[in-house]
Symmetry: C2
Subunit: 264 residues, 2 copies
Amino acid sequence: MKALFLGLFAFAPLVAGAASPPPAGAGAWIDLTHAFSAETIYWPTSDPFVQETVFAGRTEKGFFYTARKFSASEHGGTHLDAPIHFAEGRQHADELPLDRLIGPAVCVDVSGPCLANRDYQIAVGDLEAWEKKHGAIPDGAIVLLHTGYGRFWPNRKDYLGTDLRGPAGVAALSFPGLAPAAAEWLVQHRQIRAIGLDTASIDHGKSDKFESHVVLLNRNIPVFENVAHLDRLPPRGAQVIALPMKIKGGSGGPLRIVAWVPAK
Amino acid sequence: MKALFLGLFAFAPLVAGAASPPPAGAGAWIDLTHAFSAETIYWPTSDPFVQETVFAGRTEKGFFYTARKFSASEHGGTHLDAPIHFAEGRQHADELPLDRLIGPAVCVDVSGPCLANRDYQIAVGDLEAWEKKHGAIPDGAIVLLHTGYGRFWPNRKDYLGTDLRGPAGVAALSFPGLAPAAAEWLVQHRQIRAIGLDTASIDHGKSDKFESHVVLLNRNIPVFENVAHLDRLPPRGAQVIALPMKIKGGSGGPLRIVAWVPAK
């Protein structure tokens, strides 16, 4: 049982076993997750979310009963990119320690430049500007990039820049993301737990080498994509709990991500 | 934004908007979730969990990439029963408020009688005996029933009582559950947030009317099934966060359930 009780270092998260609980006190949970349905946005080349009703109604024994089944690609809707998605030999979805997924959030508002330019790449300067106002990104932070594109969900054309499917859809993608140099700056100069944003990919839509994915996932830093409602988070002070479906060997999967927002 | 800040009543959970954060301090997160794989146990008549690799390896552009897809029934593995599963007009998976899913846990050890009798039904007397030792089940508790059957996972024959599939498998089910009278006692005399256990169903395997499901789900009390590692929870003092996949209109679905266990 000893391993359970290493949490004294509650905010020194990158030590194995350390743990960050949300603070007690007044506040509320908010849901940063889009619901899965036929409208859920997937990558233009991915299979969509499909639901099928197995039974719904009164059974012959007289009781009411509903059950369904579904199929999905691992990367669509509000989801996790596990390190193995782009980094050979790194962690699968079920191998991420909970301590990587639960911690204090910082929310960086880059909606100005991102809404002005669909192909904007969030730069080191954007992170430095945030730090100048709000202080250094703390060790163990879950960094959430608020591009403003969450407001377009579930309109594919506005959200992805195209409603085409297949390779033609991939070629026409146009949405903002994190510049590879900024990803590199985060892993070199800050100690973050995880990162997420309100677009379909941490690399911008025009990327064809996915370098920000590679930089982050190589360090076992999980990436959360299609995160919802980032407009509701304060720049700092929220606590995030991001629990992915525990798929053995998964490259990612559906994510339920919530935040504790303390009362002011 | 006002609705976000009703959390002052942090432990009066059945009021809309009230919220229960885990306490700060020393402790650790533990995972109460079985990973999803081809071994995952589903009901004998349900489709199993199926994974398929879409791509794994080096792409022609030189970077490494892995992606998969999967299909699953809503009720299998560690999962949620949403109220609509057995209660007409009640909440779907995506409609459950977060406040129903996050709160203080009590863990009732009934492994003695359950391991002695596969068809045991957890009785009002078992709950009363727990209360005599540990105090009344607090308002807003997430009640977890520790039958001891989690140790048999993923062996179907030991866990379900049978490894047959289809209707013959259903007829041969044999595992413990909550007696309908005890479910009724909980909804009449206690104010619980949610309930869970380490078997495949809140009703025992021999049930054919699923009355405990009906009693609980009619009150919009979510049920967590196939919960893992309940032997690791203290009788009280843990905090549970149970985040189901957010399936629109879902009757349930994959659940990631974790607990904060404070240091002694």
